[in-house]
């Protein structure tokens, strides 16, 4: 069996990949949890688990979706019951690096606030598509949905964002 991450060279290669993928993993976890500290915990735990199981991987190309799956599971396992549903969106946005907020464009903050307010079912496929560059087919595989369901969720996600941001909602197709 091909095991690209076995042995010392494999350890090094896996470490490099984790380093490259860490920003994506953190951002994915952040948008699942909507909390920076929770995201760091989730990524840390996910990478720990991944490290222990790395020798089971047979393809380097499978690492990213595999790691994203582990992040999703870790988030569900550790924090799903603690989701911040009752926290006000303004509070979430405000807690998200205030020093950066001051420096960022107001428009970006408005969009971020709108994304914070999206339901999980809409936010997650949007993150996978726009941030991770996944195709709708890949998102369907990742989330265990049909491609049609993914397309619907993505459409509705953008529709809700447009409405929240006051961007030509009357022109929408829904």
């Amino acid at each position: 069996m091909n095991a690209p991450f076995a042995g010392k060279n494999g350890e090094y290669a896996f470490a490099q990949l984790c380093d490259e993928l860490r920003p994506d993993l953190f951002r994915f976890a952040f948008w699942l949890a909507r909390d920076r500290q929770v995201a760091e915990d989730v990524v840390q735990e996910a990478l720990f688990r991944a490290w222990r199981s790395r020798e089971s991987l047979t393809e380097t190309g499978a690492v990213k979706p595999w790691l994203l799956t582990i992040v999703r599971r870790e988030h569900a396992r550790l924090y799903e019951r603690k989701r911040l549903e009752t926290v006000q969106v303004d509070e979430l946005v405000g807690s998200e690096s205030p020093e950066l907020a001051a420096a960022e464009q107001q428009e970006v903050l408005d969009v971020r606030r709108a994304i914070f307010a999206l339901e999980d079912d809409y936010r997650e496929p949007l993150v996978l598509q726009v941030l991770m560059g996944y195709s709708t087919e890949e998102i369907a595989q990742q989330l265990g949905l049909t491609q049609g369901a993914v397309l619907t969720r993505l459409f509705r996600a953008r529709h809700k964002l447009r409405r929240q941001l006051g961007l030509g909602a009357s022109e929408e197709a829904e």
Binding site: G7, L21, V130, L131, A173
Partner: protein
């Protein structure tokens, strides 16, 4: 394709339109404008989603299909330290650094497998048997409950790494067939106490928590390990 269908397609995957949708866009200024607005919205979404990553410069984002950010090598060491208490760091150092003292490397190895010390339930007996067989040893009764067993790389060899539950807490046992010591070596570092004892063709390292009295445990281990011939 009709406008409604186009907008559903553009609203769900604006960067990957079908040939039909592209043809519709060419002949429909309002749908072309809708697509332009949607792509502009996606740029804003990407900017909003690209939250700063801890320890990295703010604003590093990645659009679909673009190259990954350049790796800052220092970040890896921070990551490795945080995710596996230095597993990878130790590995890299192992490759490049001159050989450290045997005791130091034993402690380093133990710190690299923190999960080994967490489990208290008995390990799968067949798995333990595999590890022992691979290490060409057997265990006589009396060593205690083995809660962890793994064949680990150590100084270029594969060695049995066991954790035994004892009265002084979990104790790590590493059977080092190819590491000879002329006399017992006692050490106390990084929160661990231990001893490396001459045994069989090589040695056995017994490591416990700081200040644990390992004398009796070490004796039991020496009595229990039975070496097969090379």
């Amino acid at each position: 394709m009709e406008c409604l269908e186009f907008r559903r397609a553009a609203g769900s995957d604006p960067a990957h339109l079908s040939a039909d949708a592209r043809a519709h866009r060419e002949g429909c200024p309002r749908c072309a404008e809708y697509l332009r607005q949607t792509l502009a919205l996606d740029e804003k979404i990407l900017a909003a989603l690209s939250v700063p990553v801890p320890g990295r410069e703010p604003g590093i984002g990645r659009t679909a299909g673009t190259a990954l950010p350049v790796i800052d090598r220092r970040r890896w060491f921070a990551l490795a330290a945080s995710i596996v208490a230095g597993v990878a760091v130790g590995s890299l150092l192992w490759v490049s650094a001159p050989r450290e003292s045997l005791a130091h490397e034993v402690v380093e190895h133990v710190t690299h497998e923190p999960d080994a010390m967490v489990t208290v339930n008995p390990a799968d007996p067949s798995h333990v048997e595999d590890v022992l067989e691979h290490g060409r040893i057997r265990l006589r009764p009396g060593i205690g409950t083995v809660s962890y067993a793994r064949t680990c790389p150590f100084r270029g060899e594969k060695v049995p790494h066991l954790v035994v539950q004892t009265g002084v807490g979990p104790v790590t046992v590493m059977v080092l067939r190819n590491e000879k010591v002329s006399a017992p070596v006692h050490f106390d570092e990084q929160g661990y106490s231990g001893t490396i004892l001459p045994a069989g063709p090589g040695s056995i390292a017994v490591i416990g928590t700081a200040h644990a009295n390992l004398d009796q445990v070490a004796e039991r281990v020496l009595d229990a390990v039975e070496w097969s011939r090379d």
